[in-house]
């Protein structure tokens, strides 16, 4: 739970997509989802395909009607035009009007968000520079590559200076350089205090930029927490040594378990209270400790194990 007033509050949200002529049979895409997102944070939404991530975002944006539960943005009911004016959205696999230039698209969507042309024109050069599209802004969208469309898509989501930005797979189809640029944009928004809600399959990216993460599967939230909370320490420590004896194993005898030699030192499973003793023993033997890394479960490993556990 966040302490400040939440930007996004979702309570027992559910969505069933009707099937058949009478829509009696259906597919439950969201089932009792509750979460809160505070201002100024970067919130990650993770989950396998069909987990309900995009459905959740679309309900919050008024693109899909909810079947049950409640949701609010900025304390106001979702779907309200005034609320949507404070939101930016980059959809997954979005399609921009091919008959407009990049600059015209940004201007169109900025004006649709209620901003006047002067405001947009003042903000445009900085934004184009930020997404790396200054040189191509006057070409038509239909001439753009997927990565360029993604960048202009991001610019249209930010043109009206939203307080909350939803990014659905923002780096989809973007090359590594572009991906890094988009990551930079997100971090700059975060620095400025804009709240960001990211839905991505690229876990490394989420790990790098998100403060909090929610993991969803089969329409339900299965875990929520900070990156640190979701990626616990494994208890394994890696030592990089200099001036170590030929057999460092003898030095650690009686401490920890699962000793394993590495090129520059060794790795060992130790409890927190044994770690000090181990360092003391190495120092007493005049071994220089050049590095010490307490390893964690990475987000991908944590994500896979959580999803597999729920699927069992």
């Amino acid at each position: 739970m966040v302490e400040s007033a939440p930007l996004i509050r979702v309570e027992e949200l559910g969505k069933t997509f009707g099937k058949g002529l009478l829509r009696k049979r259906g597919f439950r895409a969201l089932d009792g989802v509750s979460l809160e997102v505070g201002p100024g944070s970067v919130f990650g939404l993770l989950g396998p395909n069909g987990a309900g991530k995009t459905t959740l975002i679309k309900i919050l944006l008024g693109l899909i009607r909810r079947s049950d539960g409640r949701a609010s943005l900025f304390g106001e009911p979702i779907g309200d035009a005034a609320v949507r004016r404070r939101i930016g959205y980059l959809p997954e696999a979005h399609r921009l009007p091919g008959y407009l230039t990049g600059r015209q698209v940004i201007e169109l969507f900025g004006m649709l968000c209620g901003r006047d042309r002067n405001f947009i024109r003042q903000r445009m050069p900085r934004l184009l520079e930020l997404v790396g599209m200054t040189g191509s802004a006057d070409r038509k969208i239909k001439e753009y590559s997927k990565g360029m469309q993604q960048r202009i898509g991001l610019a249209q989501a930010l043109i009206h200076e939203p307080e909350l930005v939803f990014l659905d797979e923002p780096t989809d189809g973007v090359d590594p350089v572009g991906r890094a640029a988009i990551r930079e944009v997100v971090l700059e928004l975060k620095r400025k205090g804009t709240s960001i809600f990211i839905n991505s399959h690229l876990l490394m990216e989420v790990e790098l930029i998100c403060d909090r993460v929610v993991i969803m599967n089969r329409g339900k939230i299965i875990r929520e927490g900070t990156i640190a909370e979701l990626t616990p320490r494994t208890g394994r420590v890696r030592f990089d040594l200099e001036g170590a004896p030929d057999d460092p194993a003898a030095l650690v005898a009686g401490l920890g378990a699962n000793y394993e030699a590495t090129e520059t030192g060794f790795e060992i499973q130790v409890a927190d209270d044994e770690l000090d003793a181990l360092v003391d023993r190495l120092r007493a033997a005049r071994v220089s400790i050049r590095g010490l890394v307490r390893s964690r479960v990475n987000l991908e490993q944590a994500f896979i194990s959580m999803v597999k556990e729920q699927d069992r």
Binding site: F17, R65, P91, H94, R95, G114, R115
Partner: protein, 492 residues
């Protein structure tokens, strides 16, 4: 929706139109149609090509063995025919269908996955977004209609010296027809989210719609034509009507009711050229001395020279009356045109004969001429007599002629004999008679009982242009509301 949003949607609609390949192709085709009006002038006496080469009508006629010069009236008819052919047939039918084809994808494309997510997440109502695509279609057709109709009007004015401001009404009627078709296409687009389905269903709907109205008009012409014709042939007994079984009668009744219901509820796009024609005629008739649209359809270009029309006189009651003050001592000269339903009299010829007999029996009258003449392009029974009253001899003339099979028109001329016998008076009367015509009835393609003839802004409700426009616009609004209802229920 604030001003910025509205502006953005309009600019987007315009950008979508001008980027459309079909729009550009149609624009080029229209230019091809409009350019000749700037290049070829149909002047009073000759065709003039590029303001330089003259081809006199007489020379052209002589080449084809003709000798009659082209009258100004014929010249105007040629130009009006060209305009009507271009606008009613080419643009009104083919052009509108091509425009529907070119704009059918506007709405479905907006609703495609990816495009819809981006635009519908913005703080703009779904109705506004749907209407923006609808307006894009209207912009598409409006530009083309203005280029075609406006271009032709200017071209004919500049090169041929022909001005018919009423022709500009066609811009509105072209947009009107398209607006209805596009509303249907937009709504089908919302339901199916498929451009192909929107296009095909719109075409099918309007084909069926045309059949419904065509059938209804035929039914109206058949049922009304039979009851209003009064033809009597001596010695011929009317045949006994064939017996109709109860089942046949029920089927006919059911067909008539179905035809009526469908006709009254579906959009009457086929009326658009008629509306344009009525509006155009309305403009023309403002400058005429007398016009009786929707009843006799008689048009009189000018009053007899020297005569002034009594402002309160009308065709229906005592007749339209023109008066000219005579030299001192003589009673005023009058021209009176009266109207009688043919159903209430014995017929044009019989009435004229009866009247002739009365004149011959009247001791104050001396019949000087009688027989058949031509008035307003049709046969007229004519009687001329001198009438002596209180030492004054008057020249009296009477013409009986018909408007279709419903109205008998009686034209009376009464003036002091000596005054009326002057050549300039005779000429003035001839000019007055030459300025009488029935442009509507004289259209060779029109049945006198047809819907086309009865249609007008003052006609009874089922032939009334306002009823036609009202029901058509109601259909348009209802169609868009259904589209909006569906759009508001779509989960993107």
């Amino acid at each position: 929706m604030n001003r910025n949003t509205a502006k953005a949607l309009l600019r987007d609609a315009y950008a979508q139109v001008v980027d459309n390949m079909m729009f550009r192709v149609l624009m080029v085709l229209l230019m091809v149609c409009v350019l000749p009006t700037f290049m070829i002038g149909i002047r009073e006496d000759a065709f003039v090509v590029l303001h330089f080469w003259r081809f006199p009508y007489e020379e052209i006629a002589a080449k084809f063995g003709g000798s009659e010069p082209i009258s100004d009236h014929l010249r105007q008819q040629i130009v009006a025919g060209l305009q009507a052919g271009m606008v009613d047939l080419l643009a009104g039918k083919m052009g509108v269908l091509l425009s529907v084809a070119a704009t059918a994808f506007f709405t479905p494309r907006m609703l495609e996955r990816g495009a819809a997510d981006t635009i519908f997440s913005k703080p703009v109502s779904r109705l506004a977004l749907m209407l923006s695509r609808y307006v894009a279609g209207l912009i598409f057709v409006s530009i083309l209609a203005v280029v075609l109709v406006g271009g032709m009007h200017i071209g004919l004015l500049v090169t041929s010296g022909y001005s018919d401001p009423g022709f500009l009404w066609s811009i509105l009627t072209l947009i009107y027809v398209f607006a209805v078709m596009h509303a249907f296409s937009t709504t089908v687009g919302v339901f199916t989210r498929s451009s192909v389905a929107a296009l095909l269903l719109t075409m099918i709907f309007f084909l069926l719609n045309s059949c419904v109205h065509g059938g209804w008009e035929l039914k109206e012409t058949a049922t009304n034509g039979g009851s209003n014709v009064h033809v009597r042939v001596e010695g011929l007994q009317p045949e006994a009507p064939e017996k109709v079984t109860e089942e046949e009668s029920r089927l006919v009744h059911w067909l008539i009711v179905t035809s009526d219901v469908l006709h009254y509820t579906l959009p009457k796009t086929g009326d658009a050229p008629r509306i344009a024609k009525r509006l155009r005629r309305g403009l023309e008739e403002r400058h005429k001395e007398l016009a009786d649209p929707g009843r006799t359809d008689l048009v009189i270009d000018t009053a007899p020279a020297g005569f002034t029309r009594e402002p309160r006189s009308s065709l229906v009651q005592e007749g339209a009356l023109w008066i000219c003050q005579q030299p001192a001592g003589a009673a005023e000269a009058t021209v009176r045109l009266a109207l009688r339903p043919l159903a209430e009299v014995e017929g044009r010829v019989a009435e004229a004969r009866k009247f002739l007999s009365e004149r011959e029996a009247d001791p104050a009258s001396t019949v000087v001429d009688d027989g058949r003449r031509e008035v307003a392009g049709r046969r007229a029974e004519f009687v001329e007599w001198h009438e002596t009253r209180e030492a004054e001899t008057r020249l009296r003339r009477r013409w009986y002629f018909q408007s279709g099979v419903e109205w008998l028109l009686i034209l009376d001329y009464d003036a002091e004999l000596e005054w009326a016998s002057a050549p300039e008076r005779e000429q003035a009367l001839d000019t007055f008679l030459a300025g009488m015509h029935f442009p509507e009835i004289d259209d060779p393609f029109q049945n006198p009982h047809s819907y086309e003839r009865k249609f007008g802004f003052d006609a009874e409700w089922k032939y009334n242009a306002w009823f036609s426009i009202g029901t058509t616009l109601a259909f348009l609004v209802l169609t868009l509301l259904v589209g909006w209802w569906k759009l508001s229920r779509i989960d993107f």
